[in-house]
């Protein structure tokens, strides 16, 4: 019997191997979708670190996603010859700074006030993206050409999808694995303990305000990285990347997948993107059907798809489903 730790590593390696094989198996259309899924998976995972692990309900996560997306587009347009790495690093630096500053304002408040303030900030950023036509392109958006990837000894052409897919798999995949690792680290556990009992944490020598700010900034930077790859993937960005709709998207992905597990939101991103693609092929009114599916899901299975899977697994192994937030249980192993 292998340990759970080994099983986790094995599972990750298997997923990566599967990812590497995909371009040989699936059509271009599906590879396109898969790239999008990987990018949104990181976006959803970063959101769940806030919502599921820290218990912070934010309606402003798109401001980081959009900020990362726009930083890449604007910097590639205004600095010709800028490498892809530097554009991505710039996006991360920018979202880290924005996360730190906005976090300083937002985290003074809790619960509903915090949620509403994040919504207000998101709208503010959206308004700037719409009105500042000269920089952001306003309603027209910005088109870019994906720069080739210089590795020093060789240059990888980025014009085609397959190469970009591999870079996405590697970079975004590594970021997601780091997030998973993060939940087991001292800081990840601190976040979890704070959700359980913030007051006691203060009496144990933890500065809970700083902890929250660090986490908020960290998740903002992760969303920024996802946003940066979003622009690189579509080679286009418009104000929709920073809109409240983009926040709703991540909220739905996370809820559909389930906030109780680390991998729930990844599953959520997968299902969401696929549903969106197929429904939009069938009807123009796809948001209506998406909405209905989510309403039913939230009402019937509030724990999301991951809850269903865990219930089935527990049923199979004869364990009773405790119905507790699984993040706490999972991290204790």
């Amino acid at each position: 019997m292998i340990s759970q730790k080994k099983a986790s590593y094995l599972f990750i390696a298997l997923l990566f191997a599967l990812g590497v094989l995909m371009p040989f198996v699936v059509k271009k259309y599906h590879l396109n979708m898969l790239t999008e899924i990987i990018i949104f998976a990181l976006y959803a995972v970063s959101y769940n670190l806030l919502l599921g692990y820290a218990g912070l309900l934010s309606f402003g996560h798109a401001m980081f996603f959009g900020m990362g997306a726009f930083t890449v587009a604007v910097s590639l347009i205004h600095f010709p010859g800028l490498s892809m790495w530097n554009a991505v690093l710039l996006a991360i630096a920018m979202t880290t700074a924005v996360g730190f500053v906005t976090g300083g304002f937002l985290l003074r408040h809790k619960g509903a006030y915090f949620a509403l303030l994040t919504l207000a900030f998101n709208s503010l950023f959206y308004a700037v993206a719409t009105k500042w036509h000269k920089i952001t392109g306003g309603d027209d958006g910005l088109s870019i050409t994906r720069p080739d990837l210089h590795l020093g000894f060789t240059t990888i052409k980025m014009a085609g999808l397959t190469n970009f897919y591999y870079v996405t798999l590697l970079v975004i995949g590594a970021a997601i694995v780091f997030c998973w690792y993060f939940t087991k680290t001292a800081m990840g556990q601190t976040v979890l303990l704070m959700r359980e009992n913030e007051e006691r944490m203060k009496f144990l020598g933890y500065n809970t305000n700083i902890s929250r700010l660090i986490l908020f900034t960290f998740t903002g930077a992760l969303a920024g990285l996802a946003g940066a790859f979003y622009t690189l993937h579509f080679q286009f960005v418009s104000q929709s990347a920073i809109s409240v709709d983009m926040t709703t998207t991540v909220l739905l992905m996370t809820f559909v997948g389930g906030t109780g597990t680390f991998w729930g939101p990844i599953l959520g991103a997968f299902v969401y993107i696929i549903l969106q693609n197929y429904l939009s092929d069938i009807t123009d009114r796809w948001p209506l059907f998406m909405g209905l599916i989510f309403v039913v899901m939230v009402l019937v299975i509030p724990g999301g798809l991951s809850q269903i899977i865990l219930s089935i697994r527990n049923l199979a192994s004869g364990k009773r489903n405790t119905g507790k937030p699984v993040a706490a249980e999972e991290s204790s192993s």
């Binding site: 087991k184 001292a186 601190t190 303990l193 009992n197 944490m201 009496f203 020598g205």
Partner: protein
């Protein structure tokens, strides 16, 4: 010998309601000091002020000669002050082990690290286990708190208080709600685990107070009526009138 903890002229108003009206007392190093007084005398409020949960309206708290009245709660803990709560205040969804480890790793400086896992730190895990053993919870170390008995949860409350290796321990009614038998057991345990440290304890149960404390302050209507050794307190007429006589 200088006083280890000095509480100087502490006042506390809650929107006009005067709870503490000039509390003064001092505790020497390694002393075991009990604060007693009738319900509503302001004992827990006093603890909240010493531990940093509330700010005093006026007055000062000196710890090892340093004024800590304005320092935030988490800094006071790092300086060596730890407290327990009258109403069990732990991490209900987590295991006993994780509850205790939260303080152990804080003490060892492993609070916000993005790379190191507490699971892999042998020193921290061994210390956690040792504390669990001290309070008699080693057998249920990997059980979630919600599955513990009341007495075990009270023991955990003390274990968490000990987990940051404090020099000054504040215990707020550690035996509240326990049966006679459990109380006797708890006194024994507290006596053992706080040996060699400075202890301030709030208690209702006179058996606990007289068997643990070597000095006692009586808090009455927001003021310290008298501070003395247990024998003198037992025979003090003012104390009898205010408190002991009622029983």
């Amino acid at each position: 010998m200088t006083d280890y903890l000095q509480v100087q002229n502490i006042h506390k108003d809650f929107s006009g309601l005067k709870v503490l009206t000039g509390v003064d007392f001092a505790v020497r190093e390694k002393q075991r000091h009990a604060v007693i007084g009738p319900n509503g005398a302001g004992k827990t409020t006093l603890f909240n002020i010493i531990s940093g949960r509330f700010k005093a309206s006026s007055g000062a708290i000196l710890f090892k000669g340093q004024d800590i009245s304005g320092t935030p709660t988490h800094v006071r803990n790092r300086q060596g002050v730890a407290r327990s709560f009258q109403i069990t205040n732990v991490f209900q969804e987590l295991t006993v082990f994780e509850n205790i480890r939260s303080g152990v790793r804080s003490r060892k400086g492993l609070r916000y690290n993005f790379f190191r896992k507490p699971d892999n730190d042998r020193r921290i895990n061994e210390r956690t286990e040792a504390i669990a053993e001290e309070v008699g919870l080693k057998g249920v170390m990997h059980v979630p708190v919600s599955a513990l008995s009341y007495g075990q949860q009270r023991a955990l409350e003390i274990a968490i208080t000990l987990s940051t290796e404090p020099e000054l321990i504040l215990l707020d009614e550690p035996t509240a709600g326990m049966t006679r038998e459990e109380t006797a057991h708890a006194i024994n345990m507290i006596d053992r685990v706080t040996a060699g440290r400075t202890l301030v304890i709030i208690e209702h149960d006179m058996d606990v107070v007289f068997s643990l404390a070597d000095t006692i302050s009586v808090l009455h209507y927001g003021k310290i009526l008298v501070s003395d050794i247990p024998e003198k307190i037992r025979n003090d007429q003012r104390v009898k009138d205010a408190y002991l006589g009622e029983e």
